[in-house]
């Protein structure tokens, strides 16, 4: 067995037995000729691989912030009550309950995955029904929620790019009229930016992969949409999966790659069947396989690789590590992936949405694309809006649209918005004075996550949720990210307990900057962003939190909390 198939092998065991036993680990380690601890190390890195037996039904309830604000606690209690199990423990024969970070269903939260089938808009009553059905022996596949997100907005005046009528093969047939270099030139001219969150120029990436000679090259579609609050990739894969596949094929044609890998996050495996069918359809129409559209020697194959549950694997370099069957630790990078990527061969890693845009640009022409949007960021962008809005869902907006527009009555219909978190926890938080800012390269970019919080929401609760997320999702290799985010989480908790001084707020700034300066990869460099910005932008909120100075040199100390344990213990053991 090759190491690159390790994740698939682990999934086989996980699906079949509900966990990966010591015996299985030792079997796999013999197959791969490595020490058992190395296999265990991979298993324990990914959230969805269990080392201990789980019940017949594993339930992963999303604990992201929107879910937390929309009834997570009640739903959680309902699950525990109905199943008789406790969250994040092993559970019984029938059920195991776990919390998990965002599962890409923020427009329908609280949501959970039961045996990896989605269940959305949960309420305690709904939970009780679901568990009842499971106990009656019904298969969850048959009554899972239909979670196709609503598309609430498409630009008018013929400015839509993505959400237009689609016919299979149109972009490919159009694209094959040109030489590979011409395709890249078109993409470069269109100034298409990567849509995953890094906004790297797509044309440059393709060109550099094309220029690097090698006997094999790879196109990877990054469908590891892990940033809390974003679900546009999932929606795209449900509405227009063909567009994404065509983008991969075109990228392969342009760069000379012959193999495409679809890295699908584990949370989205309910899409797997549909995607496989779609790929089969492409084969049937001679859009995939050998000598595509009768072009001699143009072969392209796509396989789907399932992730294991890890946020950091959304970063291209970590994703490649994961594809190669290792822990998703972003490596120390000396070369870009377009030179030494997957299996050390030139590799293009593009986000789902990016590839969809690429095929539309070929289909509709780069000149059309350039007429839309702003000079530096032409075209449109998919935004997933969730939180305190009347219409959570997908919005295709022209670049240059303001935050205010997005919140307006014509679009998402936000109710007294107070804090808007753009691009997820690692992005930027905005206060009400910034709602005139525009989403575009010239002002503020948005990776896809757009979470709206109203005046009644507690900023500290939001920040704590974000910090707990990073604390859990850090790959653990470098000190500032691993320990620093833990330390900042404790700081937020301290402020929540009412022990806040000006010094604490200053320290958040200083410590956050140290983490940003010295972390190894983008995760660590972005993790304190929300916290740092919130303390700057919501001074009114934090000023109220600062305890009045008691005039002497005693530090805030919570004596009641410090002796609480002793007092209750004495009470319990005496008499």
């Amino acid at each position: 067995m090759e190491r690159i198939h390790l994740l698939n092998k682990l999934w086989e065991y996980q699906h079949q037995f509900g966990y990966i036993s010591k015996k299985a680990i030792s079997e796999i380690s013999i197959l791969l000729n490595v020490s058992a601890i190395e296999i265990e190390s991979v298993i324990s890195f990914y959230h969805f691989f269990q080392k201990n037996p789980t019940g017949k039904h594993t339930i992963y309830l999303s604990n992201n912030i929107i879910s937390e604000l929309k009834g997570f606690a009640e739903v959680k209690t309902a699950f525990e009550k109905e199943t008789g199990c406790t969250f994040n423990e092993l559970g019984n024969e029938e059920f195991s309950l776990f919390e998990t970070s965002c599962i890409g269903l923020n427009d329908q939260s609280p949501a959970a995955l039961i045996n990896f089938q989605p269940f959305a808009d949960l309420t305690p009553k709904k939970v009780s029904l679901i568990i009842q059905k499971i106990r009656n022996g019904e298969n969850v596949i048959n009554f899972a929620s239909k979670v196709k997100s609503k598309i609430h907005f498409i630009p008018t005046n013929n400015k839509a790019v993505i959400f237009k009528p689609y016919e299979i093969g149109t972009s490919i047939k159009e694209g094959l009229k040109y030489t590979p270099q011409q395709i890249i030139d078109k993409i470069s001219k269109s100034k298409l930016l990567g849509c995953g969150g890094a906004f790297f120029e797509v044309g440059y990436k393709w060109q550099s992969c094309k220029n690097n000679e090698a006997d094999a090259k790879y196109i990877i579609c990054n469908a590891d949409e892990g940033e809390p609050g974003t679900f546009k990739d999932r929606a795209l894969l449900q509405h227009l999966p063909g567009l994404v596949i065509e983008g991969m094929i075109l990228a392969g044609y342009a760069t000379g790659a012959r193999e495409g890998i679809f890295y699908l996050r584990a949370e989205y495996q309910f899409l797997l069947k549909e995607l496989e069918q779609q790929i089969k359809q492409f084969h049937d129409k001679n859009l995939l396989g050998k000598n595509i559209q009768e072009i001699e020697g143009f072969n392209f194959e796509i396989r789907i690789q399932l992730g294991g549950g890890s946020y950091v694997c959304g970063a291209a370099s970590a994703l490649i590590e994961s594809l190669e069957g290792r822990r998703g630790e972003p490596p120390v990078r000396t070369w870009s992936a377009t030179k030494y990527g997957f299996k050390n061969k030139p590799t293009v890693v593009n986000n789902v949405e990016t590839l969809a845009y690429a095929s539309r640009i070929i289909e509709l022409g780069e000149d059309f694309f350039l007429t839309i949007g702003t000079p530096k960021s032409p075209g449109t962008k998919l935004i997933s809006i969730s939180g305190d809005v009347a219409k959570p869902g997908i919005y295709e907006i022209e670049y240059g649209t303001t935050i205010g527009d997005l919140l307006s009555i014509e679009m998402s219909q936000a109710t007294s918005p107070y804090l808007v978190q753009v691009s997820g926890p690692s992005g930027e938080c905005l206060n009400t004075t910034e709602f005139n800012r525009k989403i575009c390269k010239e002002d503020i970019l948005c990776g896809g996550s757009f979470m709206v919080f109203n005046r009644n929401r507690d900023i500290l609760q939001i920040l704590r949720n974000f910090m707990e997320f990073f604390k859990e999702e850090s790959c653990g290799v470098c000190t500032p990210c691993r320990a620093g985010n833990f330390i900042l989480t404790e700081k937020v908790k301290k402020i929540q307990r009412g022990l806040c001084t000006q010094e604490d707020l200053d320290e958040i700034q200083q410590w956050g900057n140290i983490i940003k300066l010295s972390s190894r990869c983008g995760l660590g460099k972005a993790s304190p962003n929300a916290l740092i910005m919130a303390t700057e932008k919501f001074k009114d909120y934090f000023n109220v939190k600062i305890a009045p100075n008691n005039g002497n040199q005693n530090v805030e100390f919570d004596m009641e909390n410090a002796i609480y344990e002793f007092d209750s213990l004495i009470k319990d053991t005496q008499l």
Partner: protein, 420 residues
């Protein structure tokens, strides 16, 4: 081999093209501290202590291969502070009880703590319960001290090429785990090598730990003539002819007080210029006068400690935490990784010496209540200065006191600055 020139802190340096920056800097007489970098190993870039600025961007120094024209900053104020902060993060993340560690004195992390002059950590200690695993054949893995530098993961292999160590878990629970089967294949020499490459005391070989006596350990003496300047401490000016000092021991062992007496006859000179108020040395139970300086030994483990500490804050102009316990809890804080209930049960109900069927945990309104954990003094009151050590060297203590109270400038010799 081609030689290239590059800039280090503005100085023109030369080295072989493509050489690792840490080595290249060393050849040019500039020391860049690092814990994960290890000779020929691939750059690991995991500890981040060597963070430098390359052409204005911050990167780990050990991941840089020097090229012509590179402009590298190593010792800016910001970078020096970042480096110190990262080390402090390591100290608070693990449970580094230097006084009880086998590797103390030979520990590279501890030495960098001295080098960067860490007296106390700006971050609160996290006190996570971590595993000490003695199940392997030869090796004991102590997770309390592991800084996840990855050296052992990359370097220690069996003769037939299998990895012995590997990371498991992720995020803040990431740890280095050992493969028992592969570990058993290691020879005594190989196991000892694993212990040597560990920059802390996380990997130990059974029966081989306390090999060197105090004074002979690698970092006991340090660079000759190296001094820790005290010029950053503010002088304290009073009109008192004789300066007044108060001392106390909270959750401590009185070892620091013993150490104070270690200047022997020097004490007589000291008494010419200072007088002791409330202190175990005078047996004065209460403050009779306002004092210039208060020396606190030990941290706070019960309500009485908190009261005494606050009283000291009220009656002293300057408060100094003396010793590891005062600074961050020290040995009593070993209990901080366990719930209080478990500690009390172990002590009073389930220990070998407790009476059968004992149900009572001693308590009375006159007995101070035990706090949920041991607190460092600066978590309770403002502390003006910290003197590390277990116990701190007598010269260290009195030089700090003299520096604060009198006109002359004092400094601390390297061998007097210790955590153990």
């Amino acid at each position: 081999m081609e030689n290239i020139t590059f800039k280090l802190d503005g100085r023109i340096c030369t080295a072989e093209k493509g050489l690792n920056l840490i080595e290249a800097a060393k050849q040019n007489g500039i020391f860049i501290p690092t814990l994960c970098h290890f000779k020929h190993l691939n750059p690991l870039g995991s500890c981040r202590v060597c963070t430098v600025n390359l052409n204005g961007r911050s990167v780990a120094g050990c991941t840089i291969q020097v090229q012509e024209g590179m402009d590298i900053e190593v010792n800016t104020i910001e970078l020096l502070d970042t480096r110190k902060a990262i080390l402090e993060m390591m100290f608070v993340e693990g449970n580094h009880f230097c006084p009880s560690c086998e590797k103390s004195g030979d520990c590279q992390m501890q030495n960098l703590g001295y080098e960067t002059g860490i007296r106390f950590t700006r971050f609160p200690h996290l006190f996570v319960d971590r595993l000490v695993d003695a199940r392997p054949e030869r090796i004991v893995i102590n997770q309390n001290r592991c800084i996840k530098c990855k050296r052992c993961i990359e370097e220690v292999k069996t003769a037939d090429g299998y990895n012995v160590f590997s990371f498991t878990e992720r995020g803040n629970s990431t740890k280095v785990s050992i493969d028992y089967k592969q570990e058993a294949k290691l020879s005594e020499i190989e196991a000892e090598r694993a212990m040597q490459i560990c920059p802390t005391g996380s990997i130990l070989v059974k029966g081989k730990t306390f090999s060197k006596p105090f004074g002979d350990r690698q970092f006991d003496l340090g660079p000759e003539g190296k001094l820790f300047s005290l010029d950053k401490i503010k002088k304290h000016r009073t009109k008192n002819k004789k300066k007044r000092i108060a001392t106390t021991s909270l959750a401590g062992c009185f070892g620091c007080h013993m150490s104070m007496l270690d200047i022997d006859l020097g004490l007589l000179d000291l008494l010419e210029v200072v007088e002791f108020n409330k202190s175990p040395l005078t047996d004065l139970k209460n403050f009779t006068e306002h004092c210039d300086i208060g020396l606190i030994e030990g941290g706070c483990c019960n309500t009485n400690n908190i009261e005494v500490l606050r009283e000291f804050r009220k009656h002293c102009d300057i408060l100094v935490s003396v010793g590891e316990c005062a600074i961050w809890g020290g040995l009593p804080a070993i209990r901080n990784t366990f719930p209080l209930e478990e500690c009390l049960r172990e002590a009073y109900l389930e220990s070998m010496t407790s009476e059968e069927g004992a149900t009572i945990i001693p308590n009375h309104e006159d007995i101070p209540k035990i706090l949920n954990k041991v607190y460092s003094n600066h978590e309770v009151v403002k502390i003006d200065y910290h003197i590390p050590g277990c116990p701190p060297n007598a010269n260290h203590i009195w030089n700090v006191v003299k520096h604060i109270l009198f006109e002359e400038e004092y400094s601390i010799a390297y061998p007097e600055f210790k955590y153990d």
